[in-house]
Symmetry: C2
Subunit: 510 residues, 2 copies
């Protein structure tokens, strides 16, 4: 069976990932260090994600806002842990004007040097917290529930498209609460919003849980994540929700008058997901023919390819295709109108077919003169491209029958991709790794796809935790999270031998 990509997942997973991005026209290098260009198909997926997640964020009572790109350096000095975590990788603006150097080149004008350098936001707790301190006066002002869609910059030495880029797009939610309990509940509520978004919209099975202390967001009291399993068995953190305790509120002076007239310090949270999610979708759903998009986030769900011959029959074929697209677009699936496109742009039908297969359009229809005459369409399902003998499946179906079944078919494809990924995740988590030697054997060199290990631990802290992290690091492993709703620990800690208190997932990760 010949595939549409120059490299398979089996041959070289990293090269395959880059090939999908290139062949599906998702993104490309920009020529600007560490930054990518998100092309229309990639950005279209992001727009679908934004729309769905934004609705969910608003449905839980949050409002969108916009805060400045630049943060004065001094804002970072207030929360010590926070700056420690971020100071190593921030873009610093020092001048506000250019001038000629007299030799035809431009240089920063020394006269325009800023008194205080500005940081391009790596995340916005510091600048948003400063506003919170002004906004919050009384218990009546609480909770404050806001979110912003923005670009952020973290200087990265080794970059990888969508997964790790110096600039990326994300949403960051920030909230203020009167009590610890309310802030904790908010942290958990938004983690659940992310979990459902991943599962329902992206068909991405994830494990939600709390990160270990060493993996917390700088300045947080607790960090929760959703973790997805890529097809090479590595983990990818697909979203995080932070309980910030009173750390930022104290540093920034977010205080309120409580019902008894006393002055109380508030509690804050923050939470975010980014364009990284697109990388997860590629590595979970892609195959050796390119991307496979869950219908809910496919910019076009049904692409109709007219097989034109440059003769007088073309007009009838095009009319037939357009009428079918109109029929489809008038129907609803997965809560929204179907998105069907007639691709009449390029000349060769087979080129178009493979272009849309590589882009991952859930359904590709081909329509030639014979289909028009017979009232049919040839249906290609992206999630089931080949039959058992490795032959491309293009099923001739009565046009009206297809149109009537299209909403259910798209919903079925959404479910099929989710089921496939769910089965892989479930099979990929190895239970019963009860001692460190077993963990070492599982992740021995040469194991191509070891998956994740669920192990029990005593939740060590301080130096003892550092030692655990170092032992794992030597094996290129990290602790992903302690899954929600887990069975009680009943064994010994595989690191310390002490009685275990919880189960954690250990894995290689992106």
């Amino acid at each position: 069976m010949k595939h549409a990509l120059p490299v398979t997942r089996e041959q070289d997973f990293a090269a395959w990932y880059q090939a999908v991005i290139a062949e599906a026209d998702m993104a490309e290098d920009s020529g600007v260090r560490g930054c990518m260009v998100i092309r229309p198909w990639g950005y279209g997926v992001w727009e679908r994600m934004q729309r769905i997640l934004d609705d969910a964020i608003k449905a839980t009572g949050h409002e969108n806002v916009y805060f400045p790109l630049f943060i004065p350096l001094s804002y970072f000095e207030k929360e010590a842990e926070h700056v420690e975590g971020f100071a190593k990788e921030m873009a610093v603006v020092t001048h506000h004007r250019l001038k000629g150097d007299g030799q035809g080149r431009l240089v920063p004008d020394p006269d325009s040097k800023l008194e205080e350098p500005l940081i391009v936001r790596p995340t916005s707790e510091t600048v948003i917290g400063t506003a919170f301190a002004k906004w919050v006066r009384s218990w009546r002002d609480l909770p404050v529930l806001i979110n912003q869609w923005a670009n952020v910059v973290r200087w990265e030495m080794r970059t990888r498209m969508f997964l790790r880029t110096s600039e990326f797009l994300w949403q960051e939610g920030h909230t203020v609460h009167a009590t610890r309990d309310e802030a904790v509940a908010e942290t958990e509520r938004m983690l659940e919003v992310y979990r459902r978004f991943a599962e329902d919209a992206l068909a991405l099975p994830v494990v939600a849980g709390e990160k270990p202390e060493n993996e917390r967001f700088p300045g947080a009291d607790a960090t929760h994540s959703i973790e997805a399993m890529m097809q090479d068995g590595k983990a990818l953190q697909a979203g995080t929700s932070h309980f910030l305790g009173q750390n930022f509120a104290e540093a920034q002076g977010i205080r309120y008058q409580d019902k008894d007239g006393g002055l109380a310090t508030a509690w804050t949270t923050s939470w975010g997901v980014s364009t990284r999610m697109i990388g997860a979708v590629i590595m979970v759903h892609g195959d050796d023919d390119g991307l496979r998009l869950p219908p809910r986030i496919a910019p076009w769900q049904v692409v109709i390819v007219p097989m034109l011959r440059d003769d007088e029959g073309d007009a009838a074929i095009l009319d037939y295709c357009r009428a079918l697209a109109d029929d489809l677009n008038g129907q609803v699936t997965l809560g929204e109108p179907i998105r069907a496109l007639v691709d009449a742009r390029h000349p060769k039908a087979s080129v178009k077919r493979w272009a849309w297969v590589k882009k991952g359009a859930p359904i590709v229809l081909e329509v030639g003169g014979r289909d028009v005459a017979g009232g049919n369409v040839s249906v290609i399902r992206r999630d089931r491209l080949y039959n058992e003998t490795g032959k491309l499946m293009s099923t001739v179906t009565a046009r009206d029958e297809f149109a009537a079944a299209a909403p259910a078919l798209l919903a079925e494809i959404q479910g099929a991709l989710h089921n496939e990924a769910r089965a892989r995740l479930d099979a990929g988590i190895r239970l019963g790794v009860t001692d460190f030697a077993a963990l070492q054997a599982m992740f021995a060199d040469g194991e191509k796809n070891p998956g994740w290990a669920e192990v029990q631990w005593s939740r060590p802290t301080g130096d003892q935790l550092d030692a655990v992290v170092e032992r794992l690091k030597a094996m290129k492993l990290t602790i992903r999270n302690a899954p929600q709703g887990q069975a009680p620990a009943d064994g010994a800690c595989i690191f310390t031998g002490e009685p275990a208190v919880e189960r954690i997932l250990v894995a290689r990760a992106y």
Copy 2:
């Protein structure tokens, strides 16, 4: 008649503008030089604008993309006029890491100095054109029609919320075409998209036309604009569309193989509108009680204020309000479902009423126990707040009657705001200013609201144009544009005395 704002338009238009922004919770100072915080109500208006304009941009065949925030300095050196126009006001990133200075403060780490400084994009022709040069190979690749929603930075010395901020949000369209005619047609098409968006969505009457040579975008062969008239008679450029000729294509090497196999240089355009539009909406539709929002861009079109008394009757009032909101939200007006909100948050109904009046919600409903008993609502129309005697108009209306009439009423308010602004624009353009002395008299000191002058000119160039610009500048005047569809010139140029070739609008401007 007492008004909700501390200052009226008549007393101090600039202070009134700031008061509307503050009292309507649109935006606030961020503490970061030249940057503002866009608060939920202001950002909600921007989201409405984005949704409507984005649909129009897509309906004309454009796709969204995302390009990097940072542009290497050398990219700016390619197009000489362009860099000349922008070099004076750009944020320059020179370092990518901070370090402690040993005294508890952070400073840019000298070891992290960039070899080539990065510019925070003031506009993206240079970086997008670099990608175009890769994307465009053959005539089959043309046209390329893309757009991005992004933040941009232009260092501004004197800033004013929404109108002129160092960072602002906008969309920038960029296109490549095979021929001059197609690029010119695109420039005009997008100007028309902007004109219709302003008139239909923002209820903002504008004059579309071509800017004079001295007001062109740096590097453009022609710049077109839509100009709106504020209530103080000043002009505000609300959107621009640029025909870039082959200037950028030549500088960046955007070439394609034409149908005959030859190599041809392409033609490009760019066009944009920004958060500035929000400033225009405020200054066109606001009154002495705050903002008045056209229903199409109001985050909430109908706000229902329950008049609660903290007793057992409250539950019935709330139920009544929520059922009404459900009824309204199930109906469609102006092409979309109605957006109705029950504001049950704060205790005092009168405070809520005035908060929503200041925010400019098109319709505010008050519902007390007596209304529930009688099956009524008290209706306040934001566009007709007072009767002839200066008394607040709150009209008791049968609830079912109101609900049935709401779609038409919202459409009527949209039209009424547009008509009012249209009449003001038409009345504010003075025709028949046939000599320079008349222009001087019109804009004499002390004339509070002179409006705009339509004058005829010979379209001078070079030094002669410079002299005209200087004479106007001395009177704080600028040429706005040469309106589309104007009557043929039939007089003498008021600047040169030569036979006129076109009519132009002269005005003070933001």
